[in-house]
Amino acid sequence: MEKNVYLDNAAATRLDERVLEAMKKYFFEVYAVATSEFGYSLGIEAREALEEARGVIANKLGAEHDEIVFTSGSTESSNMAIKGVALALKEKKGKHIIVSKIEDFPVLNSAKSLEKQGFEITYLDVDQHGLVNFEQLENSIRNDTILVSIQHANQEIGTLQDINRIGNLCKQKGVLFHTDATHTFTRIPIDVKKIHANLITVSAHTIHGPKETGALFIRKNTPLTKWMDGGFQEFNKRAGLENIPGAVGFAKAVELVTQEENNKLQQFRDYLIKRVLTEIPNTTLNGHLEKRIPHNANITFHYVEGESITLHLDMRGFSVSTGSACFSKSLEASHVIMGIGGDHERAHGSVRFTFGRYNTMEDVNSVVDNISEVVEELRKISPLGKNS
């Protein structure tokens, strides 16, 4: 196989071999269900592994052991948080929920689904960098507001929200706060002793861990109705056979992320942004220059279309993604790019580069060299931008 330079690490990551090694035992040797402490030894060993993994996730967030519930990934975690709170508080407190308009689909579509069931949703605007309008948030909180769900960082443009300030506001107003930290967990520190979030979505698939494995932090005494019925697993908060190899893999993946690695990714990011913006004319950075996760660069190449760029890059061995309507199954332009500027053209030529453990500076240089050629070729055949 030809060398592939994979720069779509926000979508999925290559599994780290050390994660697989850690998981293997729980497929082939300790494959039993996690039994109670009075079960058989294989089951007790399985339970111990699960609880040890839980401890690692809890530790990373500064949470208590029993505040972590394993799930099948970010989608489930966010559904569980939003729908769980909605069910728990709709009679007691109200049916108003606040989200930002650039949330990822698990949050956005959970909110839309509740809207159809009679909940009232406020979709907060964001500024040109993707930051939510804090005053609008403050003014939107009402007596019947039950939940604010604002992501820690954006999936496409990488903009970091000030969850510290948002959490404080929610606490002061007595409203629950959920944040989707899928794209920040282990890359940006989160300490729940300082950040007043009641619910936090995290996932393994973005940090070289297994897919379909995530967790939800549920702060003690957070009202949350269990919405998937079944057994009494996960402190009776999430029914279903525990994914022990997944949990063990997730914990291993968390342990393997280092500050050194995060610094390296940030160097890639800054270097790519700098090279592209200085070397390729008519380019715009999407997202905030500083308030940004270390491994994301998102740039619009004006006058050309994103799917054409990604296909050319794919044929040259690079995997990147775009917010262009042509790239999506739904043929809808990125709601994030539209949210920060309202301009279809900006989404049309946007390309997202997300870095991971297996990227090198050579990859970064070569993707910039290649995209520079590709964009130049495509601009030659574009009817736009010739006179400007």
Partner: protein
């Protein structure tokens, strides 16, 4: 490696034929897709004796399907008479490309529409339109549907930017629901004149904004 398109599409996408602009074209047109934001421009040189397409070029602000269809359809049209070229269908173009994913149909239809519109532009400019029915509000409205609203990627009719259309003795008056200071006001005005100006009985076009 597994790519989402046929070898033929990829070949035309990688090395598109007949790309660029023609200086002083005999006919030209730009079509935009309301669905995805793609755009294509087609330029033709026509032999005035034989009415054959001597040269043809296209430009694309679009995705792979759009570029590949532009490439193949300009190949197919070159050397054909205008009447023959008009009959080239999207199905023929896609078959020649070895098929396209169904969801990409509108991106590639756009290239076919571009060719037809360029031929129509030539015919209108040269008085070759056979059926000279008087221009109606409906005809004007249909032409305005080809103009994109850059804010949404949808056409100006669908997004309710056209407030009023009036036709009086060859004079077409259009009111656009934007202030004249709007960043796209000038370009929309120009596009309106371009789309309507070639209609055989239109002598004057007035585009007003809501100030």
């Amino acid at each position: 490696m597994k790519f989402p398109y046929s070898e033929k599409v990829l070949e035309h996408f990688r090395h598109p034929h007949n790309v660029g602009k023609l200086e002083n074209p005999d006919g030209k047109a730009t079509e935009g897709s309301p669905a995805c934001g793609d755009m294509v421009s087609v330029y033709i040189k026509v032999d005035s004796e034989t009415k054959t397409i001597q040269d043809i070029k296209f430009e694309s602000y679009g995705c792979a399907s759009n570029i590949a269809t532009g490439s193949i359809i300009t190949d197919m049209a070159k050397g054909k008479t205008l009447d023959e070229a008009k009959l080239i269908t999207w199905q023929q173009a896609t078959e020649a490309l070895g098929g396209l994913p169904p969801i990409k149909a509108h991106c590639s239809v756009l290239a076919v529409e571009g060719l037809r519109a360029a031929i129509q532009n030539y015919e209108e400019k040269h008085g070759l339109v056979s059926e000279k029915s008087p221009t109606t509000i409906e005809i004007v409205n249909n032409r305005l549907k080809k103009i994109m609203n850059p804010l949404t990627g949808l056409d100006v009719v669908k997004t309710n930017l056209i407030k009023k259309i009036e036709i009086d003795n060859g004079k077409v008056s259009i009111i656009v629901d934007l202030p004249s200071t709007h960043q796209f006001a000038a370009s929309i005005k120009e596009e309106v004149k371009e789309k309507i100006g070639t209609l055989w009985d239109v002598k004057e076009i007035v585009v007003d904004f809501i100030d």
